[in-house]
Symmetry: C2
Subunit: 166 residues, 2 copies
């Protein structure tokens, strides 16, 4: 992969800006996604070289990382667009901008709690299976139904379990 002859690029462009492939590798967003985000108005900072190819100045790269953070944490594309189109630092849009970002923070925190809880559920299940197998291996027959029941689909167990805690 020889470096594409940079002869034509301007001095500024040469060292600081990245091609779409590099950005793709850098951010792990696919090339198609980068183009699509741009079309959809999530990436306004993209420039073009003389022959019409995209050039991403470093500011764009950082901006993309923000967009990525918003997307990965569950902000819908429409909201990211809204945020982006609120533009530079204009005072007028400050409240809405802040609202969007703070809302997102709240959601992330909520999500983290949920994730912790869900992790606990999965880990508890793993523990139960370990115990089950430990016992099952020790005494092949007569499995502890009450341990199995809440977890599994064994038809023998249907409707056997007593009331659940909450």
């Amino acid at each position: 992969m020889p470096p594409p002859s940079l002869a034509v690029m301007t001095a500024v462009t040469r060292e600081t800006s990245l091609g779409i492939r590099q950005v793709s590798e850098e951010t792990r967003l696919s090339i198609d996604t980068l183009r699509w985000y741009e079309r959809e108005g999530l990436l306004p900072l993209v420039e073009r070289s003389a022959d019409g190819r995209r050039r991403y100045p470093p500011g764009a790269l950082r901006f993309i990382r923000l967009v990525q953070a918003l997307r990965r944490t569950g902000m819908p594309v429409a909201d990211v667009r809204r945020f982006v189109t609120l533009g530079g630092g204009e005072l007028a849009h400050h409240p809405e901008r802040m609202a969007l970002l703070e809302q997102q923070c709240a959601q992330i925190e909520q999500r983290m709690v949920e994730l912790r809880d869900d992790l606990a559920v999965v880990q508890a299940t793993i523990a139960q299976f370990r115990e089950l197998i430990a016992r099952g291996v020790d005494c092949e027959d007569e499995l502890p139904d009450d341990l199995l029941a809440p977890i599994f689909a064994d038809p023998r167990l249907r409707g056997v379990v007593p009331g659940l805690p909450a």
Copy 2:
């Protein structure tokens, strides 16, 4: 909402099992989703009352919560199905079952790290905007471009920013 005459239900059914609506409220899964999960083989524990309506024994409820944890943490429906169809506690399936669950744990932990990082990005952005506005309000003109640039789409700023840290 008068309690539906329970006259017909069996003694076992009466107190312990739930109707689809109750499960829906309990789990926050929509009624349609519950039915769909069942069709798709994610919920094998569901029974029927005499007139063909679904009855969820408590074991099913707990099971649903596990499925929910797996789904919410990003396990694809296909994998949940695979996990579910591995069946009761049979030794034969133990390795695959554990593999699925442990893989999922790993993914959750990864996701939590990512989430923390993304939260940091969003919070940093909020902080930068606060600072920007604080200054902007103090001295209306001549905004601090170097602070704005990495964040925003102001056309005046294109290609201005120097090299990025990483």
